[in-house]
């Protein structure tokens, strides 16, 4: 009897768990599949990219179908489902003047996520790139100035001919693609931004 009541209790708990999971998934799966990405230490990264920055403002863009289409045309390939919902751009400023923008995007390497951050100048060229988190075997070479400085000055319209890190070709390509994506997001979402808020 005890076994039986215990079994029923377990069964109830299991059904409760599945019900909540399915219910939440049902409500959110079509509008939400964005990764819960915690950008650790965003302020330090912003100061690394814009050393004279004093403050920043978060701009949240909820993507429309047209914007997604425009980004995909610029990119020449479809966005991942998780990238089609929203995108955050951080406007970095000093004395009320926008110095540029910072944005971050997460990709997947061979050993885990690669969190890539770029700073963009007001002429929409890349000011600098930084890898917030990378767990690849060649991560020191990937995080090196020698590799990341190749992206400096690039604009969305430019060709990307990046020398990959030897032994980390897949991760190099992923980082390059993430940066291209961010430039496409910038071109579609951010070009209409006025320089003075």
């Amino acid at each position: 009897m005890l076994y039986k009541s215990g079994f029923i209790n377990q069964k109830k708990k299991f059904i409760l768990f599945l019900s909540v999971l399915l219910l939440l998934n049902f409500f959110f799966i079509n509008i939400v599949s964005a990764d819960v990405c915690v950008w650790r230490d965003p302020e330090r990264t912003m100061l690394r990219l814009f050393t004279q920055a004093e403050d920043y403002k978060t701009l949240v863009y909820k993507l429309t179908t047209e914007q997604i289409k425009s980004i995909e045309i610029l990119l020449g390939e479809p966005l991942d489902d998780s990238e089609k919902h929203e995108f955050n751009i951080y406007a970095v400023n000093k004395d009320g003047q926008v110095l540029g923008w910072v944005m971050a995007l997460v990709g997947v390497g061979e050993y885990g996520v690669i969190e890539t951050v770029i700073g963009i100048n007001t002429d929409h060229s890349i000011r600098g790139a930084y890898l917030q988190r990378v767990r690849e075997r060649k991560r020191k070479a990937l995080k090196s100035d020698e590799f990341l400085n190749q992206f400096s000055g690039k604009k969305q319209v430019d060709e990307f001919q990046i020398n990959p890190v030897a032994g980390a070709e897949k991760a190099s390509a992923e980082i390059s693609q993430l940066i291209k994506k961010m430039l496409a997001f910038d071109a579609v979402l951010n070009r209409q931004q006025k320089l003075k808020p």
Partner: protein, 319 residues
């Protein structure tokens, strides 16, 4: 009815268009199977299948002309098969300029040791606060920020760890806490000091008591790829009695979606508590995570061995 509150809340909150500059809704569901009741780190009756918790978190950023200035965070947890509703972190933050001082007021995770950057609430292998500190979240005021590579945090809080969270402070003794940290590219280090009365009746924690605590802790996070090591050494006093302990969490990245997790901890006060855990994490599609772990706990001469499984799902969405 109370069990349905989080779902009803989800229903109403999802379509809201708030006036803040940026509002983020996130949430998650944490289901577990435990082969038997652990000696610590779980409430009574958590063995077997259990909806350990689900949570909803709303984070709202309000900007002024210069930038993001106010951050409001509210998280509601429904734990133990939705039986217990609990306020998790609920605070308002006045954000300083870049590199400036931040002021946080409300209920927050105490910036002590590894807790200052690592929250293992929704993981099978957890940090050691349930044994070593007697408190994790508290209501108070915190100043924090960074200067170059140095992080700092100062906190004054109630020192009250109640099961469901409360604003009542049965004694007027406050809990004082300070932490200094050093952030480097591949590592971070911290030194924390805590002093004050801690009243714990939360059954998630090993000991329910009201004691005067002093703690000095050294924490470190070291990225030795493929290892990620996190370490905390504690020493101090509970009501004048010496206590000490250490915890080592070591994660090993096997592949993009697979990682091995482990824990080794020792704690000595009037009792001696040791734990060894080995686990595996696999990231599934659509933000699902599957974990399993085998833990061996020892309380003085009593041993316990627990096998646990977890299916976890979370989401984040801009409103």
């Amino acid at each position: 009815m109370i069990r349905l509150m989080p779902i009803i809340l989800l229903w109403f909150v999802a379509p809201l268009e708030l006036l803040a500059d940026a509002t983020q809704l996130s949430g998650g569901v944490d289901g577990r199977y435990l082969s038997q009741q652990p000696l610590w780190g779980a409430v009574a009756g958590e063995d077997g299948l259990n909806l350990r918790g689900s949570f909803l978190n709303i984070r709202q950023v309000i900007s002024d002309d210069k930038g993001d200035r106010y951050i409001l965070v509210a998280q509601l947890d429904a734990n133990d098969n939705l039986d217990e509703l609990e306020a998790y972190q609920v605070y308002g933050q006045l954000k300083g300029s870049l590199g400036g001082v931040n002021l946080r007021l409300g209920r927050y995770i105490l910036p002590f040791g590894l807790l200052s950057y690592l929250d293992t609430e929704r993981q099978l292998i957890q940090t050691n606060e349930s044994v070593a500190l007697g408190i994790k979240l508290d209501t108070g005021v915190q100043l924090f920020g960074f200067v170059d590579d140095v992080n700092y945090a100062l906190s004054v809080s109630q020192g009250v760890n109640k099961s469901r969270g409360t604003l009542d402070d049965p004694d007027s003794n406050k809990l004082w806490l300070a932490r200094l940290g050093l952030q480097q590219e591949e590592s971070r280090w911290g030194l924390s000091y805590l002093h004050g009365q801690v009243a714990t009746d939360n059954t998630d924690f090993f000991r329910q008591s009201n004691s005067h605590k002093q703690r000095l802790a050294m924490d470190a996070e070291l990225d030795f790829f493929p290892w990620l090591l996190r370490l905390q050494l504690d020493t101090g006093k509970d009501d004048g009695r010496s206590v000490s302990g250490a915890v080592l969490l070591a994660d090993y990245d096997l592949a993009a979606k697979w990682s091995l997790n482990s824990k080794l901890s020792v704690w000595k006060d009037t009792d001696e508590l040791n734990e060894v855990s080995l686990g595996l994490t696999y990231s599934l599609p659509q933000n699902f995570i599957f974990r399993l772990a085998q833990s061996w706990q020892q309380l003085n001469n009593i041993d316990d061995s627990i096998f646990s499984l977890q299916l976890y799902w979370d989401f984040s969405h801009a409103l």
